[in-house]
């Protein structure tokens, strides 16, 4: 059993963080970063995040897992067909990786290799279904597995997406397909998160709120224009713009989010984008 699954089952408030594999083979900086994850239950390892080509998430997750850091392997449908996804999941299990975040993936258009052919042979619901099948000992065509993987599959949601009911239809399908926890896109407004968590209550699956460390008003505007599904409210952009120390203000905003998240949901997922040393301050 992963720590993440145990702590969520216990009703504890969990903290997850994330790490991006390097562009290249030098893993030393990633191992250094991993040491800074203080008070963190598990670390997401991103999969060609934002459609930018990096070392494989499976390789880094395996190395971190072997060195004692619990990981959440992110796996997207953008770069692999169903056979590659099944293979990679079995491979992940062989390295002792249990926690998964199963995603559709950002479109290739957003990344550094926009000419690539996006795959999307499966969508995130079908990927969850397939994972449930592997856990039950069969592959996608029903053939038995010699050695059955144990996973704790999670999924993503964007609580502020509109129309809400349409977004939530898919969330409900993900639960039917075996999602055991949700990590959300970065959220900034308590009310939006409460609405989502209330809708989730009957489904009984824990929600971990995405908390993004925004270092400046400029970064906030960039996110609003370029990152699908992220919407930093105007009043926060203004706070960051007016602050004499925007980084300190960003940390304060993240800390406030963590504080209300403790009342609203079952954890926070910290996206610190290279500023992992700020995690203790955000959690303080």
């Amino acid at each position: 059993m992963s720590y993440l699954s145990e702590q969520l089952a216990d009703g504890q408030f969990v903290v997850t963080a994330e790490i991006a594999p390097p562009k290249g083979t030098n893993l030393a900086p990633a191992f250094d970063e991993a040491k800074k994850f203080v008070g963190v239950t598990a670390v997401n390892v991103t999969d060609n995040q934002g459609a930018n080509m990096r070392l494989s998430s499976l390789a880094l997750a395996a190395r971190l897992q072997q060195s004692g850091t619990e990981t959440i392997l992110q796996l997207t449908c953008r770069d692999r067909n169903r056979m590659a996804l099944q293979s990679d999941l079995l491979g992940a299990a062989s390295f002792g990786i249990e926690n998964l975040l199963l995603l559709s993936g950002d479109h290739s258009k957003f990344g550094d290799q926009p000419d690539a052919r996006p795959v999307f042979d499966l969508d995130s619901v079908q990927l969850l279904d397939m994972t449930a099948g592997l856990m039950a000992g069969v592959d996608m065509v029903g053939k038995p597995l010699n050695g059955v993987p144990r996973f704790f599959p999670g999924a993503a949601a964007n609580p502020v997406a509109e129309p809400f009911e349409l977004m939530f239809q898919k969330v409900a399908k993900k639960v039917e397909s075996g999602a055991r926890f949700f990590q959300t896109q970065a959220v900034f407004e308590r009310r939006a998160m409460e609405r989502f968590v209330n809708a989730m209550l009957p489904l009984g699956v824990p929600v971990i709120a995405g908390v993004l460390l925004i270092r400046s008003g400029k970064m906030a505007r960039f996110l609003n224009h370029n990152i699908p599904g992220v919407k930093v409210p105007d009043d926060l952009v203004e706070r960051l713009d007016k602050a004499s120390d925007p980084m300190a203000e960003g940390i304060a905003i993240a800390r406030e989010t963590v504080a209300w998240a403790k009342d609203v949901c079952q954890g926070v997922h910290l996206m610190t984008l290279g500023h992992e040393d700020k995690i203790p301050e955000i959690l303080a």
């Binding site: 479109h107 996006p118 999307f120 079908q126 896109q185």
Partner: protein
């Protein structure tokens, strides 16, 4: 129809650098309708080629350039002009180009890039709505194809990039899943939302496609 567009002239210039005498082929069907390979465009190409110092030995607009036998017949009617040419330039989709190239020994240069199966919104405006996947889900999706009009071809609802009902890939475009959702609501039915749609059967789209009418149908 099959939407196609003229290749960049510099590409065409390079592709034709070894040839001085050319026979031109257009198509009276799709390439005419999307103004890429009809009478007018073949004439314009002829003018341009002559400006480049090339000779044009003749031209033909084939009724449907993708019809292999008809292409053969029309080329036979222009046997001499074809014979005099070093190469043929074809303003038709990739199917048309191959109907020509399978009928002549000479080099065939395609002048267009084929893009997609396009619906006509209004004159000169084309939109891809069907990607010929061989496994149609339209009856469950209120007549809106997510395989084609969702940028990721998702089958179980919108991705996390949907913003205010628009697509992450092009915010000018409505999210296909929002359109499906709204039309199903108008029709007061659940449609595709009533079930988890299983992975698509891509074996139905195995290439190259082959189809023959059964005996008695043809």
């Amino acid at each position: 129809m099959i939407n196609s567009e003229l290749k960049p002239l510099e590409d065409l210039h390079r592709a034709l650098s070894d040839f001085s005498r050319l026979f031109l082929v257009g198509c009276a069907a799709c390439a005419t309708a999307c103004k890429a390979g009809g009478e007018e465009e073949v004439f314009k190409l002829q003018e341009w080629l002559m400006e480049q110092g090339k000779d044009v030995t003749g031209s033909v607009i084939i009724d449907e350039a993708c019809h292999i036998m008809r292409a053969a017949r029309d080329l036979r009617h222009h046997k001499n002009a074809v014979h005099e040419a070093d190469a043929l330039v074809v303003l038709a989709c990739g199917s048309g180009v191959q109907a020509i190239s399978s009928n002549v020994e000479k080099r065939v240069v395609g002048g267009l890039n084929s893009m997609f199966l396009g619906n006509v919104r209004r004159f000169g405006h084309f939109e891809e709505m069907c990607s010929l996947c061989g496994d149609c889900i339209l009856n469950e999706t209120a007549g809106i194809c997510p395989v084609t009009t969702c940028a990721k071809g998702l089958l179980n609802g919108p991705c996390g990039g949907m913003e205010d009902g628009h697509c992450e890939v092009d915010p000018e475009i409505d999210c296909a899943w929002r359109l499906i959702y709204e039309r199903l609501q108008t029709q007061q039915r659940q449609g595709v939302f009533a079930r988890r749609v299983p992975p698509k059967n891509w074996s139905r789209r195995r290439k190259p496609g082959r189809y023959r009418l059964k005996d008695g149908e043809s």
